[in-house]
Symmetry: C2
Subunit: 483 residues, 2 copies
């Protein structure tokens, strides 16, 4: 690294979150821009975070779901079999029309924008009997969607990494159960691993995934009052089964269409993670997701340095059940190191200087709130565990309090616009269910309906009226600006 | 699965290894054909094998090498910067020329056939000083090479999965060390994990990787006498550093070009694994790589079935340090299950019927040689561990003996052709180093020079002459037919 480079974050998150985000992504070594616009290079530190998400989610699903790998290239005719898919994704597809010595291909091939079609075809070949159901398969793969505008590393990129689960079921009920089960797992992934509270619900009819009968979503409110769609789980009804002839034979040898579902979470989650907790010093990582939980920094003073080194190594041993890094590079000053690890969001720093050695202590510094405490070195692992748990909880709690304060009710278009304009966050309103009423809000303040609560989790008064048009209310809408 | 499907392998490996291979791939649930010719679907069982290879190799390199993720799409101008890369890969590239609402792109984009160029560009931006060296980065990714002919699942596919490591060094020596270190790791991966002996060496000058100064290879001899190039590690000299300006500043602030290297192993290794050990009943997996080491099959006889079930579950508990599966499905006969798990290559089967329960025993059946033994259930885990180790070793030994018997020396073209024609395997000859002499062999028996031993591992007699042309010998050549 060149020395005259601006190492730290030079803009305040509050003042310019967009520029702040870009700086954190680059300076915390999470990602780089790629030569192709809208694509990104995920650097090792960003990749370690993705690997932790992957490992955790694999553990959640492994009892029931098999991992496989499906081809990158999908023939255009496959996409065309399900009309919503082709209409929904056609404007975003990158096409291969020329390849190798073959030259021009007979049929153009899509780089997968999602894999429903190719996996539906696979299902139709592998599902025979009710005994094969539920049929569940998942892949971790790269995806290409040629977004036209406003690409940003992790949050919106033309190529991203994700997992896509695809399942087939006997009936509507089993498919619905699956959709909700995976949505709950996404909620756990965000809340427990990443300390990001979520709201669960459905997307409005007109904003469903192409080919879905219901799209469910987990939404995370970011500190700038904008919502992120962080994971989605879709009920596909019999749309793909009809298009690809996915049928099973029941106990009486009668054939029926399967009900299918799909669900996915992507590297976008890292974007949410950065936005959720970061501050003006850079990234802030909750301990559960952080590749490094603790960094131990010996503070050498040119005297007793060997003792400090030895003591630091002993502390490292004591903490070997955590993901710990010892930064004992003698060419860098303690101040440089503090900044370096703060920028990268490491949750806890342990400083060890001559005083600590003399008093058999260590100094703990929390990344989330800067709090500095001194602890005796005996039973250090227990104390550290408590602190890490508290950091994890505090980060969650802070964001949850913020979120709860930013769900406001509105009874008229004026109120909706007022709240979005002033406080942002979610505005909860009764809604007739028509796209037109959403459009009125959208055109005025660029907010849209990011979710409607599940039927069983909401009550609509008998006399309830849509906040926008005054017609009979059929749904509750959460309006928000979003990423 | 339909009942009238031919479940078992219907052709002998000796008689028709090509058809045998295709059947094993499909019937052991390893892979399926994809709608796009030459591509494949890696099914869950095949994926589990790949995941084991991935986990093992990650463990080998993780201390020194960081994982990252680079973009799928590489601008044509990047490929063109290194002339050998463009010449070597151009005939195999799949191109994106149209994407999304952009329509026709200003520059066509290659789906990565390998990532040297884009990673060299990254290196040029991230390497500043000698302190940044050696610089090592790896990615697990999908790769596209539009092979014109003769595609087969795992062995040769247009899309495959691999890891590609890319490193930069101060000097030739450090790059060479890296190349050899990774080659040794590939050798360990094949030998220890997959029980496949390898030969290590260099590729002839004219058969190097595009852009490399030296290409090293691990070659595995398959039971049909053909060699598989199973992993390669390349010294790229300063070719990429010159093309992409990868320079470092030394201790005296002087700038120098880096020496770079790259190394990769792919899903092709699964093809080698299938061919290496399989037999007429299907796949045979060495315990270290097998997703399931032991299958426990209770043999229900309609009497004391509950006791058999309970006893089997106890045995499962006893063996919980192994990767074990209990197949207690009452709708399938024991015979059906034996065939099912043999087809999938599970190394050890444990049968438990009324006799076993009564005598506090279990019956062990080895997949590799069919050997059946009865063991008391006490200390079963130790006994099983011994048997698994013996299976692992026996599979390796058998292939190594075969390989050693199939390295034959030849002193004339006639002898080379004779051995290749009759016994196959490797023919070891003195060679002048000229492509023309290799071509003479190739044209007559479709064998080529798959490796030449490292300088320090071979001796060429002063008066040694090329077996083909009689000119002065400069190298030792291993001729073989290959995959």
């Amino acid at each position: 690294m060149s020395n005259n480079q601006e190492l730290g974050i030079t803009v305040s998150k509050d003042k310019n979150i967009s520029e702040w985000y870009t700086q954190v992504v680059k300076k915390a070594d999470l990602a780089d821009y790629a030569p192709v616009k809208g694509c990104m290079i995920i650097k090792p530190y960003g990749m370690k975070i993705w690997e932790r998400i992957k490992t955790k989610f694999n553990q959640m699903i492994e009892e029931e779901v098999d991992n496989a790998y499906f081809p990158l290239l999908i023939p255009e005719s496959y996409l065309e079999k399900e009309k919503d898919i082709v209409e929904g994704f056609d404007p975003e597809v990158a096409w291969v029309e020329n390849a190798g010595k073959d030259g021009e291909l007979e049929e153009r091939l899509a780089i997968r924008p999602t894999s429903e079609s190719i996996i539906a075809d696979y299902m139709s070949k592998h599902i025979r009997s009710y005994r094969d159901l539920p049929f569940r398969i998942n892949q971790w793969a790269n995806i290409m969607r040629w977004e036209a505008t406003d690409t940003r590393p992790f949050l919106r990129t033309r190529e991203f990494l994700w997992q896509e689960g695809h399942t087939a079921h006997r009936d509507e009920e089993s498919a619905t159960e699956e959709v909700i089960k995976r949505l709950e797992q996404y909620a756990d992934l965000f809340q427990d691993l990443m300390a990001i509270p979520v709201l669960k619900g459905k997307k409005p009819e007109h904003d469903k995934f192409p080919g879905a009968t219901i799209t469910t979503t987990v939404e995370c409110l970011m500190p700038d009052g904008k919502s992120i769609q962080a994971g989605t789980s879709h009920n596909l009804g019999t749309n793909f089964s009809e298009a690809f002839d996915i049928k099973y034979e029941d106990e009486n040898q009668e054939k029926h269409l399967c009900h299918t579902a799909s669900w996915g979470v992507s590297t976008r989650s890292i974007g949410a993670l950065i936005l959720a907790h970061g501050d003006d010093k850079g990234l802030v990582l909750p301990p559960n997701i952080s590749p490094i939980e603790i960094v131990v920094v010996p503070v050498f003073v040119g005297d007793n340095d060997e003792e400090i080194q030895e003591y630091s190594e002993k502390v490292m041993e004591e903490l070997d059940c955590f993901r710990t890094e010892l930064d004992d590079d003698k060419n860098r000053s303690p101040g440089f190191k503090f900044n370096h690890w703060e920028l990268r969001g490491v949750p806890l720093r342990i400083e060890i200087g001559p005083n600590e050695v003399e008093n058999k202590e260590v100094t703990l510094v929390r990344r989330d709130n800067g709090e500095k405490t001194t602890e005796k070195v005996s039973n250090l692992d227990d104390k550290v565990e408590d602190v890490l748990e508290d950091i994890q909880y505090s980060l969650y709690k802070k964001l949850k309090d913020y979120r709860d304060e930013h769900i406001n009710e509105a009874e008229s278009l004026e109120e909706i616009l007022g709240i979005i304009g002033k406080k942002r966050g979610y505005v909860k309103s009764l809604w007739c269910g028509r796209e037109g009423c959403e459009r009125e809000v959208k055109e005025k303040v660029h907010a849209e309906i990011v979710l409607t609560p599940f039927d069983e989790e909401r009550e609509i008064p008998d006399e309830g009226k849509c906040a926008v048009c005054g017609e009979k209310a059929e749904e509750i809408a959460y309006f928000a600006k979003n990423y």
